[in-house]
Subunit: 338 residues, 4 copies
Amino acid sequence: MIIVMRQDASRDAAEDVARRVEALGLKPHLIFGEERTVVAVVGDDRRKDREKFESCAGVDKVLPILAEYKIASRETKPEPTVIRVQDLVIGDGHFGVIAGPCSVESEEQIMASARAVKAAGARGLRGGAFKPRTSPYSFQGMKEDGLKLLAAAREETGLAVVTEVMTPHHVDLVASYSDIMQIGARNMQNYHLLQAVGECDRPVMLKRGASATMDEFLLAAEYILDQGNQQVILCERGIRTFESHTRFTLPLASVPYLKSKTHLPIVIDPSHGTGHANLVPPMCSASVAVQADGIIVEVHPDPPNAMSDGAQSLTFSAFEETMQQCGKILDALGMTLN
Amino acid sequence: MIIVMRQDASRDAAEDVARRVEALGLKPHLIFGEERTVVAVVGDDRRKDREKFESCAGVDKVLPILAEYKIASRETKPEPTVIRVQDLVIGDGHFGVIAGPCSVESEEQIMASARAVKAAGARGLRGGAFKPRTSPYSFQGMKEDGLKLLAAAREETGLAVVTEVMTPHHVDLVASYSDIMQIGARNMQNYHLLQAVGECDRPVMLKRGASATMDEFLLAAEYILDQGNQQVILCERGIRTFESHTRFTLPLASVPYLKSKTHLPIVIDPSHGTGHANLVPPMCSASVAVQADGIIVEVHPDPPNAMSDGAQSLTFSAFEETMQQCGKILDALGMTLN
Amino acid sequence: MIIVMRQDASRDAAEDVARRVEALGLKPHLIFGEERTVVAVVGDDRRKDREKFESCAGVDKVLPILAEYKIASRETKPEPTVIRVQDLVIGDGHFGVIAGPCSVESEEQIMASARAVKAAGARGLRGGAFKPRTSPYSFQGMKEDGLKLLAAAREETGLAVVTEVMTPHHVDLVASYSDIMQIGARNMQNYHLLQAVGECDRPVMLKRGASATMDEFLLAAEYILDQGNQQVILCERGIRTFESHTRFTLPLASVPYLKSKTHLPIVIDPSHGTGHANLVPPMCSASVAVQADGIIVEVHPDPPNAMSDGAQSLTFSAFEETMQQCGKILDALGMTLN
Amino acid sequence: MIIVMRQDASRDAAEDVARRVEALGLKPHLIFGEERTVVAVVGDDRRKDREKFESCAGVDKVLPILAEYKIASRETKPEPTVIRVQDLVIGDGHFGVIAGPCSVESEEQIMASARAVKAAGARGLRGGAFKPRTSPYSFQGMKEDGLKLLAAAREETGLAVVTEVMTPHHVDLVASYSDIMQIGARNMQNYHLLQAVGECDRPVMLKRGASATMDEFLLAAEYILDQGNQQVILCERGIRTFESHTRFTLPLASVPYLKSKTHLPIVIDPSHGTGHANLVPPMCSASVAVQADGIIVEVHPDPPNAMSDGAQSLTFSAFEETMQQCGKILDALGMTLN
């Protein structure tokens, strides 16, 4: 880290800071500039509370140099992590497609969806059984009955099941029925939950929180990795900004940025990322072109009658067309579908 | 809600929407404008998935009219809710002051803090025992040992203890040592946790999530209220914006807005809301002037050696001066301290 | 518009609002709901100050229905607008590529750039002669000398020249040397400037302001169109959000959204939109895939010595590779380069 | 500045960066850390393009140390700047109050407003004659006729006239009728306009752009100061965030932050900052308490019939009550009204 002194700070103040740096087992370098003195700190300060130097006399600000995440870092593990479950492959040139309804609503609905998304080329099936809903009065999911229906759909189609787990004491239950456990955006910093899935041997799809920075996102992944579970998929699903014509703002530049920083695969969720079905197909194509490692898309047999997220769900035929466009771009770029 | 048809939508499409509205038990009014047809929907559509109408043929957009929260609404309960624990009073002209360290670190630290904040005028003691930290490598709190120290500090000083609960299976434990349970900003939409504290008889301080809208904030409160716990305090602690000179952006206009919409008291957290100790005192004064129902402030005996949030913690003497300024404004406005 | 009354508003208050609506030449429909009364207003209220109804007694809020822009609207002109200058074509399946340095710095620099970007497939040349810079101490551009060099580069290469105009009294000068005049993001709501370029017969590239909503963006275009100039290109260049790993956040979903609302072509600026050269090539590919009408990209012979925007400028070889990737996707999707 | 090398960067790359630093006349210090090499740069790099180092081989990122503004800095001029025009005083303990309608609409309206705001305690009169409006179809102001009415109101009441100037060629005209020229938020980075008012001897009120950082805001002020005009008032009027219950988000922490960085006075605009008349009075009180140097407030004789900004305008009686509350807090804090 770099500790920047105020212009009016005394030499004593800078030396006091340097002593505090040494007391932490780190090495300070004092640099006396024309206008400012800075204390450059050498050593691994990841596990220190860096910002507390701000409250020392004469300190103006503290600039971190080292990212706090380590296991997630590409510097630690240069080769890309690849996730393989059932016939779904995500990462290192494999573009994994996960699709299905927002919520599992009935056997008929989930079976029809599973068949349709498989026929169109998906190899993962999404479907919420435990649903985090903004309002307590909204449909909260079919719970374990929903999980059973997902497992039945996998039985028939061979699709990998991706479903959300909302609280630590559900982890074993959800793990027993699913192939990939999803941590939703609202729970990205639910640390007990992250630790609980970190103790599983099941891959985890971690969604970016709506106001999470990249460092916070990777540190949330680090919580899982640090417990021993190395199978983490990052999912960019949009951030909250002033834009109101979309539900969230979906920043695809996250993909090349994350690829430069981490070995973990990155999947895009254009359904939540835009919130409107007509915007989803072009953003699926763009996700391929930006070289994401996959997409997760909401598809429903009858969107106007969906119990949740109807406005952003594709019909079967719209999803089929979307997959055809994606296929053309995958071919053009030499990438592999699933 | 108002369902706005596209300009090119047929009359049939609008009538189809009207039929779907009726099928939900609501009453549609078709209004044929010069450029657009709108379907105005009469009835309580709070528990319906309103946005799914967007996927009906010919629909442009859906505008909600009724807020989804009901128990939290001032329309439901016009008189203000007041929270009283120990000598701390929050709401209806009582300005409750809660102060103390970010984390409980030791008996000496928490005892000294409790005495100092009480002497300055606080009647609530904050202190984290279970700490949600962005990095898995940061100090995670003293856990139950920290709770015991908080209870000991209450024993001596009579201050009401406010401390965070992070996960449903800790609720009973935390409730047994504390007077007010805090739900942190990262957990504002951790619905299992909200329901768990909703089943307690202990007041809950619910912090606004960094990217939560007012409706989302009040719906999170609604989750708690809907379980039977009516003692909810809202806490504005800042939102994430593009501003980087402060840790978050602290919008004090939340106070009069929330007061117009809900009967629940609103407390401001200027420590997290700004992130820098020098900005905290004037924002405490402003919190009084804007007629918030209280403040929660980080105070530490030795900020440069704090184990967390050192940069935003006030020293004892800075807190004392802050309270003197607040006292002058409280007097001027005819409000009561605690 | 829809005027929503407060729950406690009297019938008289709603009728008073209705009378005010009639006084504006519009037709009110009163709808008495279970909880709220709403006044639905029929007629073209585009030129009225709709929000002032908020200050009438008993009014809770005002919801607009009609967008305020009209000439820019796809409802007014369904067929896409296509811009053709020199060999550059933008719109309706033609993907126009504009490239070049941030600033014109010297004859050698702009000539080398023009030749390189043309060889790689661009048909437009960008280059700033008048430079809006955040700091008064930064390089402010070569001014008219820069314009002359751009014109010389067009003379040799046949590339269409795109350059910024910053203030109304420069419009004639800039128009005399350029093919497309650019309005920068900081000037998106500089209405005198918009009107001045609206009186020209030169195409205008209007960049989205960093905090402009889609409606504000289209209304800024409307200022130009309303003066008679129908040749407007919209340019999405990213918005300001809490993200700091990129200079701005580049929301590609703007493209399908804008295409659904306006006939004007939409070009993406991934250089300003990301701020880092390594993120630009994948975002160029994604711009093709999302079916934008073109890109504008910063390319410099020697980025470490650029006088502005070095960090986000591509080298010649990086730009050439970028164009090859874009070409593959254009082919796959059946689109035409320029 | 601090230039941080990538972990895999060679020693040669760092030394090449050091040579480039020297070539700019600055002094590099290489610090070889355990994981990273950093190049600390000593010297005034304000007028250099710092970010271009990012495009040098092996560089990860560049961290600026010195703010780019200099004349605006409190380090350059520690004593606060005070603005005095007519009976209005802004700064150094004087809380200046400017009030009046959004737009000048008629003689009757502006005269009535001037008398009312003066009676309530204001010493500045606001009123727009040239109006920047989002839509080309909205009322654009009375132009010079409006300026004449403002001057007439000053003649009668002695209030200082504050009015907006939108474009460089209007500066002389607006200066001839007004006491303080306002640069609106949309024009904060209209550099030709900033330079034009910088050449005047008239005080300037510079509004913060809706997405401007503090550094950008102060650099915009620096453009004016750098031309010789030292009488600049900063005005915080809210930033664009995801919040939609207010028109903008008004961050009062700007006041203590700016006071720590600059000697220029800071005024708050709670009318634009919130957009709703019921939120304005408590935010005026909070502006006093946070020790701003003044407020600028929209007041209209008949808000439901205002030609612009009706929703956020106070009635005369609401303004009078607001001033009474502010007066109590000013007294309590020992500050002076105007």
